[in-house]
């Protein structure tokens, strides 16, 4: 007997409400950590994008005294960033898939839903509204109390107020169930690692037990902020091309190409079209399916395109990275490298990496993984960096002995980091990323090998200096005694020659 099957559709916030595990809100401990993290990242983004030296204050407190974990907490995160326009403020925090981060530009947040998920989670667990307030001008501050209508995927505004502002920036306050006892190590490690990659930020954290962590900025140099960009032709798939054509107003392939692709001007476009065998004057909208496929295959195989530039990316830069690592790890030897931009599936990315040898407080090998300046703390073994370090590099080949104190810091920045989960904890192993990581780490390891080699050979040379001075007289004395001769042999002339022969033998 066949039954009738009911079909239906749900809203995005409904989907994520049902599947909040996907976004890192698995249990009270992990959820508390995820909430801290999502808000801090939003705050840092809000400063970076405006070129403001960040000053972030995080405060976690018990909602009621004397309870045991898991229990409700109040979480406040406050920044001096550029603020959010009051017209968008409720939507930005009360609607899934709504945000400023759906353009092709590097940012910490990416799915446009981290903050909203944290509010969703707090609402589910404590049923208290979130309080968000923001000032874009340092004059007026707009405050909202809001809940999320999950069914409809929209914010419900409970209260709206305008007050005089003391300074620019955004403040968010939520009440949520958490387990700080278990989350504490991760949260403090998160803030510590964030300060390593953001040495131009000042971070304050006050925990529910009243303990405070302060990280003062050590540099006022900020990374160049990124600007939105067009997609690179090497990474375009058929679907992407189809959509670009539909959205484009250009009527010829030449114009279409030169106005829609990253670093493609008329000259490049026309060379490419000739290579691919398409008429420059053809209306892109007339391409049929087969032609679209051929066009994409030609885009992929053509070698004449310029490499993606990094204008849309905001790498930390060697100087800042070096300052951050130096301050955090105090290594004996440190090298950093910023790889040239590369791309996967049309998304440009840059790998930055640091290698710190003989660090304070580190025994053996430790990985610091970052993606778009966000530290990744969970699921290390599923990450592409672990895969490269453990499976692809043989550290001993670089003269690194087991148990050497060694920190490997990797930073992948991209307009889109290929996370495997919405919880943003580990990066998928795209071959292009794997290759760049390998190149970066090999370069650093070669420099470390040179350093270790120099260190050793310096000591060698000094030792050799005295060898002839020591052994020739002994040789003379023993051969005299053994042969029963009366006087010492005349060996002095050899003292100098010894050195020369040595130099020849290298």
């Amino acid at each position: 007997m066949v039954k009738r099957v009911k079909f239906s559709e749900i809203s995005p916030s409904e989907f994520f409400y049902r599947n909040r595990d996907l976004a890192g809100f698995t249990n009270p401990s992990r959820s508390l950590y995820s909430a801290v993290r999502e808000f801090v990242e939003n705050s840092l983004d809000a400063c970076d994008e405006a070129g403001i030296l960040p000053e972030i204050r995080v405060e976690l407190s018990y909602l009621e005294e004397g309870r045991y974990d898991p229990q409700p907490y109040r979480l406040v995160v406050e920044d001096n960033g550029m603020g959010i326009d009051p017209r968008h403020l409720p939507d930005a925090f009360g609607r899934v898939f709504f945000g400023s981060k759906f353009v092709l530009k590097q940012a910490r947040g990416m799915f446009g839903m981290g903050g909203t998920m944290a509010i969703l989670y707090s609402q589910i667990t404590t049923n208290r509204p979130a309080k968000v307030s923001s000032s874009v001008d340092g004059v007026k501050r707009y405050s909202f109390k809001l809940l999320i209508d999950i069914y409809e995927n929209r914010p419900i505004i409970i209260e709206r107020r305008v007050e005089p502002a003391e300074r620019r920036g955004t403040r968010i306050e939520v009440s949520l169930y958490g387990d700080y006892t278990r989350a504490e190590p991760k949260i403090t490690e998160y803030i510590r690692q964030t300060s390593l990659i953001t040495p131009y930020a000042t971070l304050h954290f006050k925990d529910p037990k009243g303990r405070e962590l302060h990280f003062e900025r050590v540099t006022v140099v900020m990374p160049k902020p990124p600007s939105p960009t067009k997609p690179h032709p090497h990474g375009i798939d058929v679907e992407a091309l189809r959509r670009m054509i539909r959205l484009s107003k250009e009527r010829t392939l030449l114009k279409f190409m030169s106005s829609n692709f990253h670093r493609v001007g008329e000259k490049t476009a026309s060379a490419f079209l000739e290579f691919a065998g398409f008429d420059k004057e053809r209306d892109p909208k007339t391409l049929d399916n087969e032609e679209l496929v051929r066009f994409v295959e030609a885009l992929r195989s053509y070698n004449g395109f310029l490499k993606p530039d990094s204008s849309c990316l905001s790498p930390v830069g060697e100087e800042i990275l070096r300052a951050g690592i130096m301050k955090s790890l105090e290594p004996e030897f440190l090298e950093v490298v910023s790889r040239p931009p590369s791309a996967y599936s049309g998304y440009p990315f840059i790998i930055e990496a640091g290698l710190a040898y003989n660090c304070k407080g580190i025994e053996g090998l430790k990985l610091y993984r970052y993606a778009n300046r966000v530290p990744l703390l969970y699921d290390e073994y599923s990450d592409v960096v672990s895969k490269v370090v453990n499976d692809e590099l043989d550290l001993r080949r670089y003269g690194v002995k087991p148990n050497t104190s060694l920190a490997i810091i990797t930073h992948i920045c991209s307009t889109k980091v290929p996370y495997k989960t919405v919880g943003k904890e580990f990066v998928a192993d795209r071959p292009e990323i794997e290759r760049e990581l390998k190149n970066a780490l090999r370069e650093l390891l070669r420099r470390l090998r040179r350093y270790l080699g120099r260190k050793r050979s310096y000591e060698m040379v000094r030792r050799r200096m005295n060898i002839y001075g020591k052994y020739l007289p002994l040789l003379a004395r023993f051969s005299k005694e053994l042969s029963g001769m009366k006087r010492m042999p005349r060996y002095r002339s050899l003292l100098k020659e010894g050195e020369l022969v040595e130099e020849r033998h290298g």
């Binding site: 060898i467 002839y468 052994y471 002994l474 010894g498």
Partner: protein, 361 residues
């Protein structure tokens, strides 16, 4: 019975040492860097000499040239050692490997570890083709001997003194004085060397020395060189046949083979082997024949057998046959396994049967 062997060897060694000293001295004195060429002991230079029936070194040499900064240290160590050995011999003193290591410090020389100093000692052995016992350098391990053999000491303070090695049934240590003694007389007609101290005691108790007219030697496992040298002298100087009795496993077989044909890591030496000696068991076939209690071969045992099968010393006869038998039965037995039939069974039954059998081979 030849006499004076021990004394003659000592004089040979002293002459070679002086020669080495003179060569180095003359080079230095004429403003040249001295050099020494030592037969190479690398695996590629170790060859099996069928005629001598032992491993020997080939024609390759290693050069120690004072002009090379990588060589000067070890060359100086070698010359120091020659000088030190010369003193030992002149003063009639002996030394252990360990003593050599520490003694260097008295002369502002040093070895970075015992292995380095041992290696230089082996260099000098190879250079002079003489064993370190000839340099009065003895290892810690000692084996022992018992039976009717009268010897005459040559060491200082005992020159000319004689004793007979049958008075103390627990056995006499084989050390520097016995090694350097001359043989005076014996009523023995053979030498029975056993792998273990327990079996040695059993043989003495069962009066094997009288019943078989034998000198009994306790090898104490893999025989020290002084013992191998003594066995050779008993064979060469007194014409006594040498019979070796070991545990029934590849390790026991190898103990016998090393005594008879030498070891690869003493390929730079001669006069340590007894090619006419016989291994009288325990053979793999004895384990079956005598229904001995046995244990299965371990992986290490099997691996060892396959190594030995590739070794030229084991290419033929009993050596090859018994290795294959071990592989076939996959078991091994110890000498004590005969106790299953009573403590004296090995002496009453096995030994006479086996000696009879082996004489026919």
């Amino acid at each position: 019975m030849r006499r004076g062997t021990a004394k003659r060897r000592k004089e040979e060694v002293e002459a070679s040492l002086r020669k080495l000293g003179l060569e180095v001295y003359r080079k230095l004195d004429s403003g040249d860097f001295p050099e020494v060429r030592i037969p190479s002991r690398s695996v590629r230079n170790i060859v099996y000499d069928k005629r001598l029936r032992q491993y020997v070194l080939g024609k390759a040499f290693v050069r120690r040239y004072a002009g090379n900064i990588k060589h000067i240290r070890s060359l100086t160590q070698l010359v120091w050692l020659a000088f030190f050995v010369d003193k030992l011999l002149k003063d009639g003193k002996t030394s252990t490997l360990r003593d050599v290591y520490y003694s260097a410090q008295a002369y502002n020389m040093e070895f970075k570890d015992q292995a380095e100093s041992n290696n230089i000692i082996t260099d000098l052995e190879a250079l002079l083709t003489k064993a370190r016992e000839d340099f009065n350098i003895y290892p810690e391990e000692r084996s022992s001997i018992f039976g009717d053999l009268t010897i005459e000491y040559t060491i200082p303070g005992y020159e000319g003194k004689r004793i007979n090695l049958s008075s103390h049934p627990d056995g006499y240590m084989i050390g520097p004085s016995l090694s350097s003694a001359e043989f005076v007389e014996t009523s023995a007609e053979m030498v029975l060397a056993v792998e273990k101290g327990g079996m040695f005691t059993r043989f003495v108790e069962e009066r094997v020395h009288e019943r078989f007219k034998a000198l009994i030697v306790d090898l104490a496992g893999q025989a020290p060189r002084a013992t191998r040298y003594l066995l050779r002298r008993l064979n060469r100087e007194l014409g006594l046949p040498i019979y070796i009795l070991t545990d029934g496993d590849p390790w026991g077989e190898h103990i016998a083979a090393v005594i008879l044909f030498g070891s690869a890591n003493a390929a730079h030496l001669r006069e340590l082997t007894v090619p006419d000696g016989k291994w009288i068991g325990v053979w793999a076939s004895d384990i079956v024949k005598y229904k001995l209690p046995s244990d299965p071969l371990s992986d290490v045992d099997v691996k060892r057998i396959h190594e030995l099968l590739r070794d030229p010393r084991y290419k033929e006869g009993i050596w090859q046959r018994e290795l294959k038998n071990f592989l076939k039965i996959r078991r091994k037995s110890e000498l004590e396994a005969f106790s299953k039939y009573g403590l004296t069974h090995i002496v009453d039954r096995y030994l006479p049967e086996k000696l009879e059998l082996v004489k026919g081979l």
